[in-house]
Amino acid sequence: MSQLPGPILRIENLSVAITPKHGRPIEIIDQIDLSVKTGERLAIVGESGSGKTVTAMAIMQLIDGASYRGKIEFNNENILMKSEKELNEIRGQKIAMTFQDSLSTLNPIMRIGEQITEVLTIRGIKKSIAKSKTLTLLAELGFKTPVDVFDQYPHQLSGGMRQRVMIAIALIAEPQILIADEPTTALDVGIQAQVMSMINLLATKKNLTVILISHDLGVVAGFADIVLVMYGGKIVERGNADDIFLRARHPYTKALLNSIPTVMRDRSILLPTIDGVTVDPTNRPVGCIFQDRCPVVQSLCKVEIPKEISEGANHRYSCFFPNLEDVV
């Protein structure tokens, strides 16, 4: 594995806007920056509408009619400047993505093997080589009878198996970055643990950089090195997994963590909620993005945007009145 100087992926000041047919452009990602090193696992968390999937889609430049500002550097090259043809050399080959719903993403009338080998044969690799590579990868992904699975159709597989097929499609071309969008959402907890362990093992073995998008904070806690918390198209807090889960500073992060009914929780204590609804991208407030739902909001938050504050090497958050209580 070649050791690259600096991060494999660096996003600088990225804003993404979509323009509806009638109307003004709507900013859905607002000046975010992040960087990932080779082999690192980054997780993006947040509620629906926070911009986590959009961030992933922006890296792949897969959002219809979107306009991008800022920089997305992959191996020190700004891929926002690349042509569609150059991008197709990157998409699926160097940066691969698995999408949320495995049943609707796989082609129902195409055999599993064909859907995986296609990624290679389309680039002119011989069918026989593509097949043997696929069988090896399916075995690595824990399929006991790869030869049988190769000839099956998606409906013949369980949800967990389909999810692993999706991962096979993503990994067959040996990408440098895997973006996994909610890879375990519809799965039972047992299967979920199996899929996450599998991604973990393969990522280590192949020194793969993984960007995990998930609303399940338990899954993220077990997998991520670095966690970004997004709200309303902005990164409100970031840090090592321990920073986020044990030393959450932003009231939004804290509220998200507190609202999970964990199995250890004392049920006599009422579950804290986050009141209100997520911010409307067409009507962003002046000042802090989280002000309307924040339990500790002050008048300052309504006039000024909080700057990012650093605490330790990787931990940063944007809040004037951070939570300073740690989890013991």
């Binding site: 949800g159 907890v189 899954v219 806690a221 889960f245 999970i260 009914p261 989890v327």
Partner: protein
Amino acid sequence: MTSLFKVKNLSKSYGNGVKRNFALKDISLDFPINVSVGIVGESGSGKSTLARCLIGLLKPDSGSIVYKGSDVSSFNASDYRKFRQDVQMVFQDPYTSLNPRMRIQEIVGEGVKVFDLAKNKDELFAKTASILNQVGISEEMFSRYPRQFSGGQRQRISIARALAVGPKVLICDEPVSSLDVSIQAQILNLLRGLTKNLSLSMIFISHDLGVIRYVSDFIVVMQNGIVVETGFPEQIFEDPQNKYTKSLLHAVPVPDPRIQRPRYLLK
């Protein structure tokens, strides 16, 4: 003490011949009155099938369901009408379980009309309004359509629809599984408050053990169509007896890297 539901030797299968698949295999259970019973299990465990049999949406192959002392299969038309008023359901998907062409006050008011619970239009509106207010939907939203609401709000409307006819039992089938955690917490708190204030019995189905622990007074663990363990939350969570219950508990992701990280390491 009479129980709410007494289920005896209940079986239900789908398909026939070699493809016949038993979703419920000879289940016997007792649901006490004024208690929230949580049913937990993975997909295919039969938990939704059980709920649908209880409410009468599915006809079991064999076995009996006794509601407050009388067998459901012996009900005549008027008994059955009363039963359907007593037992209400909240479904999993708030996007498909509300009629997109009806205003939410019509959706909530429909049951009130069907069961003749209002003398006139004013009373109908008053009833509907009070229920919608109870679930946190304010008056200026009453004439909107379901598509104008978020997932959490829709689930509130589903709950209001169920409550509007004055039920004794609320059966909730994965009511929060499509919601974000922050919204999930709101709905769970709402259900906990409502069951307490209205002395409702609740049967709550979920695959999420954390959610089950939070809402249930009593827990039923199902796997492959059978009940593998029942008990009070402390028993199930602190001292599970069944192997499957233990494995299920161990697989629940915990939002603490110190606990969760080692679990994703394959040997």
